[in-house]
């Protein structure tokens, strides 16, 4: 079943709005920027690994909700962060996320299930070709 209000995957990636739908999630902040397109994702609780391996413009899924997650997102120019298992960030972290215009989504599923849903929907990891590259046939590294 499809109706015009359900956003679709595009050849170049999916919107954060679509990611939120796939995760049965909801927006904590930044919904006004939910139409940005994401072409890679990363699921990780180790911020140093995120800092080493995540591509710009990706979405990060994580089980941590402290302010370092938002700082990490800021340094990497990530467009969105998904906090899994409905873990709500504290007020300080939320204010920080708002100040850098980060889209924050809450997913009811644990990390593995949340990542699995996005992967099954065709969103590649950060060491794989992005949706854009797959579409245009450019090699990723």
């Amino acid at each position: 079943m499809e109706d015009s209000f359900v956003s679709k995957n595009t050849d170049h990636g999916v919107t954060l709005r679509r990611i939120c739908e796939i995760l049965d999630g909801h927006f904590v902040c930044g919904e006004e920027r939910a139409d940005q397109i994401i072409s890679n994702a990363c699921g990780c609780d180790l911020m140093s690994d995120v800092l080493a391996f995540t591509r710009p413009g990706s979405v990060l899924l994580t089980g941590l909700t402290n302010s370092q997650v938002v700082r990490t997102a800021e340094m990497l120019d990530l467009k969105g962060v998904v906090f899994v298992r409905d873990k709500h960030p504290d007020e300080h972290t939320l204010q920080m996320a708002k100040s850098i215009h980060l889209v924050v989504i809450l997913s009811p599923y644990p990390l593995y299930e949340s990542c699995g849903r996005l992967y099954a929907a065709g969103i590649p990891g950060c060491l794989e070709q992005s949706c854009d590259e797959r579409h245009s046939g450019i090699a990723s590294f």
Binding site: L46, S48, L51, P56, L64, S67, Q68, M75, L76, D77
Partner: protein, 144 residues
């Protein structure tokens, strides 16, 4: 009109153990580089390396400074701290080596990937350290 080479210098304080403010200096550095119109890819490399270095001061040291110097050719970040110092720099550079406590690991740091990533983000990195005195790390990022 004016062909003097633009150069700038900023210094930010970092306090050991202050996890609420950890990353503030790197955030300021990033904003300054965006304001002067530095290339996006270099800003990203500087931001990542500067943030890892700042986190090391917060995690491992007592007090320190992040110093930014930039001109048209390159960006230099110096992170200087008073703290325990690094006894064996080669060992500390090994990916996965970490002496961070579990409390830090629970916050997503302490994976032992900071120093290796700082090295791979920068064009040059020098570490000077004295036990029980402190550590100075200088990183150079060249404009492509």
């Amino acid at each position: 009109m004016n062909d003097t080479v633009a150069s700038l210098h900023f210094k930010f304080e970092v306090n050991g153990g202050d996890f609420a403010k950890a990353g503030d200096a790197s955030s300021r550095v990033k904003k300054i580089l965006q304001q002067i119109g530095a290339d996006q890819a270099i800003i990203r490399r500087v931001a990542i390396a500067c943030y890892e270095a700042e986190m090391n001061v917060v995690i491992h040291a007592r007090h320190g400074f992040v110093v930014l110097d930039a001109d048209l050719e390159k960006i230099i970040i110096v992170v200087d701290d008073e703290g325990p110092g690094i006894e064996d720099i080669e060992l500390a550079m090994t990916p996965g080596y970490s002496t961070a406590p579990d409390s830090v690991r629970e916050m997503g740091f302490g994976a032992g990937m900071g120093l290796p990533n700082m090295k791979s983000c920068s064009n040059e990195m020098e570490i000077h350290s004295r036990r029980d005195v402190g550590t100075t790390i200088r990183m150079v990022f060249e404009n492509a």
